[in-house]
Symmetry: C2
Amino acid sequence: MSNTPAYDALIARSRSQYHLHHLAMIAGVDRETLMPPGGAEARALALAELQQVMHARSTDPAIADLLKAAAQEELDDEARADMREMTRGYTLATALPAELVEAKGLAASRCEYEWRAQRQANDWAAYLPNFREVLRLSREEATRLSDALGLSPYDALLETFEPGMRGAEVSRVFGAMRGWLPGLIAQIRDKQAKESVIEPVGPFAFEAQRALVREMAEALGFDFTRGRLDESTHPFSGGVPEDVRMTTRFREDDFSVALFSTIHETGHSRYEQGSPRGWLGRPIGTWRSMGIHESQSLAFEMQLARSQGFLERLAPRLVHHFGAQRAFEPENWVRAATRVVAGKIRVDADEATYPCHVMLRFDIERALIAGEMQAEDLPAAWDEGMRDLLGIDTRGDYRDGCMQDPHWAGGAFGYFPCYTLGALYAAQWFATIRRATPDLDARIAAGDYAPVFDWLGANIWSQASRWTTPELVQRASGEALNPEHFRRHLQARYLTSS
Amino acid sequence: MSNTPAYDALIARSRSQYHLHHLAMIAGVDRETLMPPGGAEARALALAELQQVMHARSTDPAIADLLKAAAQEELDDEARADMREMTRGYTLATALPAELVEAKGLAASRCEYEWRAQRQANDWAAYLPNFREVLRLSREEATRLSDALGLSPYDALLETFEPGMRGAEVSRVFGAMRGWLPGLIAQIRDKQAKESVIEPVGPFAFEAQRALVREMAEALGFDFTRGRLDESTHPFSGGVPEDVRMTTRFREDDFSVALFSTIHETGHSRYEQGSPRGWLGRPIGTWRSMGIHESQSLAFEMQLARSQGFLERLAPRLVHHFGAQRAFEPENWVRAATRVVAGKIRVDADEATYPCHVMLRFDIERALIAGEMQAEDLPAAWDEGMRDLLGIDTRGDYRDGCMQDPHWAGGAFGYFPCYTLGALYAAQWFATIRRATPDLDARIAAGDYAPVFDWLGANIWSQASRWTTPELVQRASGEALNPEHFRRHLQARYLTSS
């Protein structure tokens, strides 16, 4: 008989939840990729029913007793890490009263649903009352989580996406970047203004694009025996580690959407596929945090796939799939794939300007949750931030301004910083890989990505949730999060003459 | 406040189960159509976990109390029909001890899994011990169900697939058919032996086949806004009424596999899509029985789509999709699509010889469950039955003899009769439609299938589980199940000179 019965009982519960989670993920993937419109309502009810089953299980008061009992058992280090995650999970699951969860869910669904048309119509006035209600309930959620976790309200929200990260730490990092990023962007744009670039000209046949992205996913190590690549309106990586479902989307006039979104999702997917098999179903077996997940997709998409060596190898493959055109001459293609352009839209941004979009949102959402800013103050703060950070005028353009993202409409405050944390982590990983493999660029240029995959596998994928995020960063790279690696990366890629 | 609180509580539970069932169906469809091999184990565990949740809910002792309380409430006729179904469901769900369900599940999984290779190898000796264990546990299951339902053991199994049907009734019907079917088959074969038929010659491009079957599904009224047509190794119709997923499979050398399987599954699918929306989630809202379900697929595939008028209209569409060939001349194509050939394989059988395959299996499985026949007696009984019914020698050929089907290996005894009950019901529906629409054949020949769809919609689809099967048959056709309609159908189609 086991001498850790309480811990074992908790792990059995964790595995049961993992199995139900599997069904939620697959039904969610089906919804985005295959489901006909008539199935939407029944699917929503079905998933809500499953959520209810899972929520009841995750808030079962017996878990509190088991956690107490297991804390007295003789546990090894990995089991103690399981306990850390289970304690956090139980605290989060039980922190919110059911009525608040339901009220916020309804308000967010409504706001997000109506936002689609309101955004199209540039109708801030219609959006405001819905948004105000979502903000009100999100503040209440933050307060409740704050009480349960002993963190500030904003930090409590951040904790749900990026455990261990605090607003003050994000401030420190983003504050440093604010000092050098706008100037660096200006330097890059000055340099690029002197270079001529030929844009690829379509149409690019869907079949050729499909073959290209499949080839890319295979070259980047996606395991098709344990996953699929399908299509959806918005690319994503979903499913479960045993069966990872990633998607892309195809535009006939622009193959780079499918190409780079596939590479991005392949990064997410390899993180999932690289989870230790023996840990699956255990709390330590799951991906670490949103920022770490994004660091994998950006390691693939930005660090690896937009490097000069990778892009130069890609050029002849473009010729192979789409036929020759001048834009695919290697030197031009490298320039075309690394243009830096300040624009209004976050999701269209290049890696240099992207953090500006995030820093703006971080400042605003922190003030909104703290009650220092009200819903109606959002457009003015947005316009001011976009002018300061990127020199762009967004006045009166809510559609491509403060109404462009679904996150806040859906009540997800504390999520945005993870995108840029991911970019910073990715740069830090590559700096570490480069120290261990000084000829990394030559290896990549020769099509040998093993140094990247081996390092990520050993230091990130195989570690899953074994460590807290700060511990993971320290162990993997030998230091805490350091935005300096990102600065050096931008300088090396965009300001060193090649 | 409702004055039927117990009934309402039962309906709420029914709806919850319906929502979870949705996820099981979609995950099952995904498994057959998309899932990569590496996902199989995790999917099996996930579905088993959901089954456990659903089983715990369906056997909750509180249901017994609610059923008792609701029986005292003032319920309308539809609610009383709900009560009939819930009572039956609870009795079936609670009749079997969990250990028996688990033991049978394991034995059946093992037997069915190993059967795949054993069948290929024609290895009866290796199959026998697994099959003996499945039979032993199926007998025990039958005995337990028999106690709970107050039926004979075989009838208790039949009740799980075709509620209200009894072995004695099947015997009566099959006994009558045994008197005339073999002679009728001989007559048909004599007649057809004098006719020359040209078989269509492939290859038939997959894209052309896809276009053909999509066109067929649309012409037959499949609603693509509430369903999909995909591909799988074995065609099926799954999903839920709000989102019906049917599949087909393509063989390059024979388009008729995809064509007729799509038409067959469209019949199943329209039954589902025709469920009354207001009843979904209620016990009366579900499909009635396996036999009634099969009557819909066979009404489409056999009664409608192999009629002379339908086939003649189809001929120019084949030319359109595949190009002209002599086999597609209407008179020839009608003959090619209505050949009667006595063969060893049930799933390849035409509608005239198919019932012989089922009658054989019915006699054997009834004797097996009654303990009048043992597992080792199966091959001899099979050989004898095939010789008597179809004049075919199967001695030594287990692979295409008694080992050809997965049903018994999987522990499904009492299922086979439903196939032929479906064919008999379908003939009875068409006889009824023809009485109401004397020019039915001319309407079909003109491409007007409304008389068929309208009648099925009003009499079968919209009735769901409102009535017991015998009640449904009586109400729809004005008489009890009568195999005479099937005899007349075969005579009219195959022995009347056209």
